[in-house]
């Protein structure tokens, strides 16, 4: 009975995901498409939670629905009248797209079937749990991301850094938002400290429970987005010199640790088991700051003006007069 109820819920979730995904792509009103995409991301986070992947659920909700949604909305804002309706694609393009979609669906179905048919043979989860005690952390996801498969995460940080360098190369930041009313101002004053504490918690808890640098960084970036929406043009970022170093800190710390261990006879990013916990914490802390600064700068769309960077929420609102 209980299993049947869960299955019904899962089927409903899957059907809603398909429906929302289709609606988000099919609508020609870009604003509506973005709103549907955000709803899709939140439901996808629920689906990950149902698959017992809380790390992915957190990341999907924070980055996929939250920050990506904010980025899309910010992109629409710079369009006149909230963006033109999406162009109608040509028939050749649609045909090619459909062909690729069918190919992709067949490939995914084949991969799923072969994974199901594999039965009890050795899977990656097994060696991970066997060597978990040597990784320095007790959360298998963090162990894979920061230790067993650290190369991947190192390159991911490099990808994020180069993406943001691309954003910064595009030109000056968009103009900020006007000062908020008293209600939003009050909400921001409460939420930003809470988000900073939550970010710190997610970073620390990543060692033994769902969490980690990406979720923590996205949470900090959410605080920056909130500040920016509240009329703080600098979004709470430190001075440009400091921000530049913070932007690169994750990659630099990762490379430094990776190279340092080679001096003691280990391979690149192969940590000595006694020191692994500390080294992972150093890398994750630096990566959290880098990801937060990177996402915040991507949202702002460039370096905020010099005057804006010294401003805090408080000074801005006193300059702006009473509410």
């Amino acid at each position: 009975m209980n299993a049947l109820l869960w299955m019904l819920l899962d089927l409903l979730l899957a059907a809603m995901l398909l429906g929302l995904g289709w609606a988000a792509v099919a609508t020609r009103d870009l604003k509506r498409g973005v709103a549907l995409f955000i709803a899709f991301g939140l439901l996808l986070a629920l689906a990950w939670a149902r698959l017992r992947a809380p790390d992915l659920a957190l990341a999907e909700a924070a980055i996929g629905a939250g920050i990506a949604g904010a980025l899309l909305l910010a992109a629409l804002r710079s369009e006149p009248q909230g963006g033109q309706p999406a162009a109608v694609p040509s028939r050749v393009f649609l045909l090619t797209l459909n062909l690729f979609s069918v190919l992709l669906a067949v490939t995914v179905a084949w991969a799923l079937l072969s994974a199901l048919a594999m039965g009890d043979s050795v899977r990656l989860a097994q060696p991970v749990t066997e060597h978990l005690s040597q990784s320095g952390v007790s959360n298998p996801v963090t162990a894979v991301l920061l230790n067993f498969r650290a190369y991947d995460t190192l390159l991911e940080l490099a990808v994020i850094l180069s993406a943001v360098l691309g954003v910064l190369a595009l030109g000056p930041a968009r103009p900020g938002y006007r000062l908020p009313g008293p209600v939003l101002y009050g909400l921001i004053r409460w939420l930003v400290p809470l988000l900073i504490v939550t970010g710190g918690y997610l970073l620390w808890v990543g060692a033994h429970a769902p969490g980690g640098a990406f979720q923590a960084g996205a949470t900090l970036a959410a605080a920056a987005v909130l500040l920016r929406l509240g009329g703080v043009d600098g979004a709470g970022l430190p001075a440009a010199v400091v921000s530049r170093w913070l932007l690169a800190a994750g990659l630099l710390a990762f490379l430094a640790v990776g190279l340092l261990v080679t001096a003691f006879g280990y391979g690149f990013v192969q940590y000595p088991p006694d020191l692994a916990a500390g080294l992972i914490l150093v890398i994750e802390s630096a990566a959290t700051l880098s990801i937060a600064v990177a996402l915040a700068l991507a949202y702002i769309g460039g370096w905020p003006s010099r005057r804006a960077q010294s401003g805090s929420l408080h000074t801005h609102t006193t300059e702006g007069g009473t509410h």
């Binding site: 009313g181 209600v183 939003l184 009050g186 909400l187 409460w190 939420l191």
Partner: protein
């Protein structure tokens, strides 16, 4: 006994959610829709959270659920205010 109370609370909460959703779909203009949505859904979420908190029987989880409810209350109140203000601004300057 606690289970019965919890299920009752959750059912009443779902009722409020349904009323809020029907209001969102049926009411004529933006302000009355906001009114239906924020009031009914906030109360509905509070009742559902209270019901779940009773079932879990853990003080920590109960406090977390109440914290979630308070955060949603603050966020939905602020966003309702923003949407209403935006609509008012638009009406004043056609």
């Amino acid at each position: 006994m606690i289970d019965v109370v919890a299920v009752g609370l959750i059912c009443i909460g779902i009722g409020f959610f349904a009323a809020g959703s029907i209001g969102l779909l049926r009411l004529p203009d933006l302000h009355s829709r906001l009114h239906a949505l924020t009031k009914a859904d906030n109360l509905g979420l509070g009742l559902v959270a209270l019901g779940i908190a009773l079932v879990t029987g853990s003080l920590v989880i109960a406090l977390k659920l109440i914290l979630i409810w308070l955060l949603v209350l603050a966020a939905s109140a602020a966003s309702a205010n923003l949407i209403a203000r935006h609509a008012l601004d638009r009406r004043e300057q056609p």
